[in-house]
Amino acid sequence: MVTKKLVLKFPKKITEQPIIYKLIKDYNLVFNILKAKVDPDKGGLLVLELSGEDKDYAKGIDYLEKLGVKLQPLEKDITRDEKKCTNCSACIAHCPTGALYIKDRKTMKVEFDKSKCILCEACIPVCPVGAMRVDY
């Protein structure tokens, strides 16, 4: 069994195909959509958590790649500009998973654990200096 959070980028020529339907039906994969944005003129973007048996998962990924879907693990997508971040901590109260947190209460430095980030983007508007960014 494997579970991974992925960012899928669709070229515009395949936005009309029932890709997700096929992932369920032909590859037995279970998914949870975290974010979706599809524009028939520009292509699509889908952030999802995908689970299934190892073999099915590998086949499903292979299917997506052959279709021209670009795949990347979710954790790469929210970035913190380390030069801009002032370590104020305004973000931590808004991060629902504790991906942004303070480990050392003496230094009060704000840590960012990307593995806990679910790409909800709550940190982005609340950062006073625009240090948090989504890159697709």
Partner: protein, 400 residues
Amino acid sequence: MPKTYEEINEKIKNKKAVVLTAEEFIELVDEKGLGKAAKEVDVVTTATFGPMCSSGAFINIGHSNPKIKITKAWLNGVSAYAGIAAVDLYIGATEIPENDPANSNGKGFFKYGGGHVIQDLIAGKDVKLKAVAYGTDCYPRKELETWINIKDLNEAYLCNPRNCYQNYGIAINKSNKTIYTYMGVLKPNLGNASYCSAGQLSPLLKDPFYKTIGIGTRIWLGGAQGYVYWHGTQHNPHVKRNKNGCPIGGAGTLAVVGNLKEMNPDFIVGTSMHGYGTTLTVGIGVPIPILNEEIAKYAALKDEELEVSIIDYSEDYPNCKSSDLGTRNYKELKSGKIIIDGEEVPTASLSSYPKAVEIANILKKEIKSGRFLLTKPLQLLPGTDWSEKFKPLKLRKKGE
């Protein structure tokens, strides 16, 4: 044995001054006792780095040919005050572009405003200037559009009427909907508590009765040597104090000035508060000369001895009501949670403690190297015996 400013400066010039940050001084007092620490240490450095809305910069752009007496001006689309002589402008931190939707189309993001213009100028970026005028015989030009750069300006100096608040209330939201404030986004039903002070490092909390800080005090301002030029607007020494002398709310403020051309964009940062507006995050370091044991005692106050009131921003703050939710100290605030009405509320700071530590250490280094001498204030800040009282605005008819 009391010390004088002259004696301390002599030691600084000879690179023999003993300088500690307020954090280090607290540890030394714990270790050696107040008397010994007060004798050994000459200067304690304090610092803060947080959003300070009452900030802005004066610039003189130089005369064009033919000349113009500007009546309205914009820097990168942000209006600058031009109601002073021909080519002097004041760009305020909270000014937003006229075409910014602000809060008219959902809560605004306020990505760019006066604070950002100031940071761009410091960073050496070209800034677009547009200006209009009605034209006079001596200043015939009626419009202007060009690019300016800080290096070409005659003068550019930060001149902030109210910075460095002595203390600041803890913001919470008792209502059942999210609110967007200058203290950040406050989640409903006590979802979070936002504070904004460096606590035990914060300048006016380490000299609570203004025994060393006043007009002419040389400070570290955004990377440059600046000065306190007056008490800040809304300066209020009469705020209720705890047993350690710490005012439990806003209280004292500083008006500060410094050369923008010598500043560093890492310490003067354009800032956006979601649903509220733009501002400027300002880094300030203030040296406290340890002239005697009393000054040392205050400079050694710790987070747990410094407390501040909780204020509800959904109903009480906008309507000038007191919140009656008690006080919490900075040790509690920095722990990550406080208890309010039996509920655990996560805390977060708008002011950066790590940046304040960095500034206190830079200032310490500057003083130790002999480059930063202390100044004796020409006049101390108004203290608890001040006759002026902090007043609200009364709405009235003429003559009432």
